[in-house]
Amino acid sequence: MYTAIMVALTVSLIGTVISFLVAALIKGIFVSIKLRRNMKPKLSQQSGTACIATKL
C-alpha cells in the first residue's frame, strides 16, 4: 500500500513537472515567434537605412 502511494505521488510529481515544461515550451515558442515577427520590420528598416547611407 505504501509503495502504491509512493508510485501515485511519483506519477503526479513527474506529470506536473513535465506538464509545466510543456507549458513553458509553448510559451517559449510563442514568445520567440512574436519576437521574431517584431524584429523583422526593425531589421529591414535598419538595412534600408544602411543602403541609403552607402548611396549617399
Binding site: M1, T3, A4, I5, V7, A8, T10, V11, S12, I14, G15, T16, I18, S19, F20, L21, V22, A23, A24, L25, I26, K27, I29, F30, I33
Partner: protein
C-alpha cells in the same frame, strides 16, 4: 425419419441449456443490455456513434454461441485471448472480426486513429494563448488518475490493473484502451467498456456536479475574451512538432499516441484539405464504428464474467468523480490567483473528454449568465487535459513495469 435433436438445430438456444447456468443468465442479461444500449443511443441519452454498434455487437455475440466441437462452445466473431501464432492463423480465417481485432485493436492502432481524428478536429490555439492557466487546471483534473491508483491497489488489483483502471479518470477513451492494452491485457475489455460507459455519462452527470460545487454567482463570471492573442498556423505547427518530439523522447512507449494527436493537429493547421477530410471523415468515423462494434463483440459472457468487474465499476466512477473535483479545485485556484476574474467552471473542462466537458462548462455558465462566454478558455483547458492525460499514461506505462 432421422433422429434429430431439435435443440441442436438452434445452437444458440442449445448452448444456453447445455452450458453453465451462471453464464447462461449472464448471456441473457448481456443480450438485453445490448438492446438497451441501442435504444439509449438512438434516443441520444448515451453517445449514439459508439453505443449503437456496441449494443448490436453485445446482443449478437451473446446470442450466437454455438458448439465449435463436441465439448467446446464459442462464437465465430472473435477470440481475444488467442496468443499461439498457429492458432491465431486459424482464427483469422474463421472468426470474421478477428482480422480487425488482431491488426487494429490489440496493437492500439484504432486508439491512435481516433486520436489522430481528435487532433484534426481540435483547435489548439486556445492552449497556446494561455498555456500556464490551462495546464494548471489540467494537472488538477488528473486527480482521479493519480488518487485512484492506491485505492485500486488497496481493493486488491495489481499495479498494472490499478494503473489501467485509474486512467478512466483521464476521461479519454483511446487513452484508457491504450494503457490497458499495454499494462493489463487480460482486463482491457472490461476496463475499456467501463470507461466508455462512464464517458457517455459525463454529459449528463457533470452538470449536477458543477451546480453542487460552484455557486451560481461564480458560475456567471464573464471572461475577458480580448486577452486571447491571435495564434498563427505556423506557431501551432511549430508547437505540434516540437512538443511531439520532446514527449516522444521522454516516453517512447506512448509515442504512437503523441504522434497521432500532434500529426492530426499539424495536418489541420497546414490546411491539407484532402488529408483533413479523410481523417475527420472515413478514418475517425470508421475507427469509432469499429471501436464500438469490437467493444460490443468483446462483451461475450465468458470474457466479461470476471470477478473483478464490480471493483472496476466502482473504481471507474471514483476516478471520474475525483478528476471532476480536481478540475474544479484547479478552477477555484485560478479564480483566486486572478482575484476573481477567472470562472471556476472552466476547471471541469480540464477533464479532457474533448469536447464534451468544454461544452458542459459553457452550457452551465450560459444558464447562470446568458452573456458569459468561456468556451475558448474551456477548450484550452480541454486540450491541455488531453496532453496531461497522455503524459500520465506515458508515465504509468513506463514506470509500472519497472516496479518489482
Amino acid at each position: 425419419m432421422p433422429d434429430i435433436n431439435i435443440l441442436n438445430l438452434f445452437q444458440g438456444i442449445a448452448t444456453l441449456v447445455a452450458g453453465d447456468g451462471v453464464i447462461a443468465i449472464a448471456r441473457i442479461v448481456l443480450i438485453f443490455t445490448g438492446m438497451a444500449l441501442v435504444y439509449l443511443g438512438a434516443k441520444n441519452i448515451l453517445e449514439p456513434l459508439l453505443m449503437i454498434p456496441m449494443g448490436f455487437g453485445m446482443a449478437s455475440v451473446n446470442a450466437a454461441v454455438l458448439f465449435l466441437s463436441a465439448d467446446t462452445m464459442g462464437t465465430i466473431f472473435v477470440d481475444p485471448m488467442v496468443s499461439d501464432p498457429g492458432q491465431l492463423m486459424n482464427m483469422l480465417q474463421i472468426d470474421f472480426l478477428q482480422p480487425i481485432y488482431t491488426l487494429t485493436f490489440s496493437n492500439g492502432l484504432i486508439a491512435c486513429f481516433v486520436f489522430m481524428g481528435i487532433g484534426v478536429i481540435t483547435e489548439i490555439g486556445y492552449v497556446l494563448a494561455n498555456p500556464f492557466s490551462s495546464m494548471v487546471i489540467a494537472i488538477f483534473a488528473e486527480l482521479g488518475t493519480v488518487a485512484t491508483f492506491p485505492i485500486a491497489v488497496a481493493m486488491g488489483l495489481n499495479y498494472n490493473e490499478a494503473a489501467s483502471i485509474a486512467m478512466v479518470g483521464s476521461a479519454d477513451g483511446p487513452m484508457v484502451l491504450y494503457t490497458s492494452l499495454m499494462l493489463a491485457k487480460d482486463l482491457f475489455v472490461p476496463i475499456t467498456i467501463v470507461a466508455y460507459l462512464y464517458l457517455s455519462l459525463t454529459y449528463g452527470g457533470y452538470p449536477y456536479f458543477i451546480r453542487l460545487l460552484v455557486p451560481k454567482k461564480l458560475r456567471g463570471i464573464q471572461m475577458d475574451l480580448s486577452k486571447i492573442p491571435n495564434v498563427t498556423a505556423g506557431e501551432k505547427i511549430a508547437f505540434s512538432i516540437i512538443t511531439c518530439t520532446v514527449l516522444s523522447l521522454l516516453f517512447p512507449v506512448a509515442a504512437p499516441l503523441f504522434l497521432s494527436f500532434f500529426l492530426g493537429v499539424a495536418i489541420k493547421e497546414a490546411g491539407l484539405k484532402h488529408y483533413i477530410s479523410f481523417i475527420e471523415g472515413p478514418l475517425l468515423y470508421g475507427s469509432t464504428f469499429f471501436l464500438g462494434l469490437m467493444l460490443g463483440v468483446l462483451c461475450e459472457a465468458n470474457t466479461i464474467m470476471n470477478p473483478k468487474i464490480l471493483i472496476l465499476l466502482v473504481l471507474g466512477i471514483v476516478s471520474l468523480v475525483l478528476s471532476g473535483i480536481g478540475g474544479l479545485i484547479g478552477g477555484y485556484l485560478m479564480y483566486y490567483i486572478s482575484k476573481g476574474k477567472f470562472n471556476p467552471v472552466i476547471g471541469i473542462a480540464g477533464v479532457s473528454c474533448v469536447p464534451t466537458t468544454a461544452k458542459v462548462a459553457q452550457k452551465e455558465v450560459t444558464m447562470a449568465n446568458p452573456y458569459a462566454i468561456i468556451l475558448p478558455y474551456a477548450i484550452g483547458a480541454n486540450i491541455s487535459g488531453v496532453i496531461t492525460s497522455a503524459i500520465i499514461a506515458g508515465i504509468y506505462v513506463t514506470l509500472i513495469p519497472l516496479i518489482k
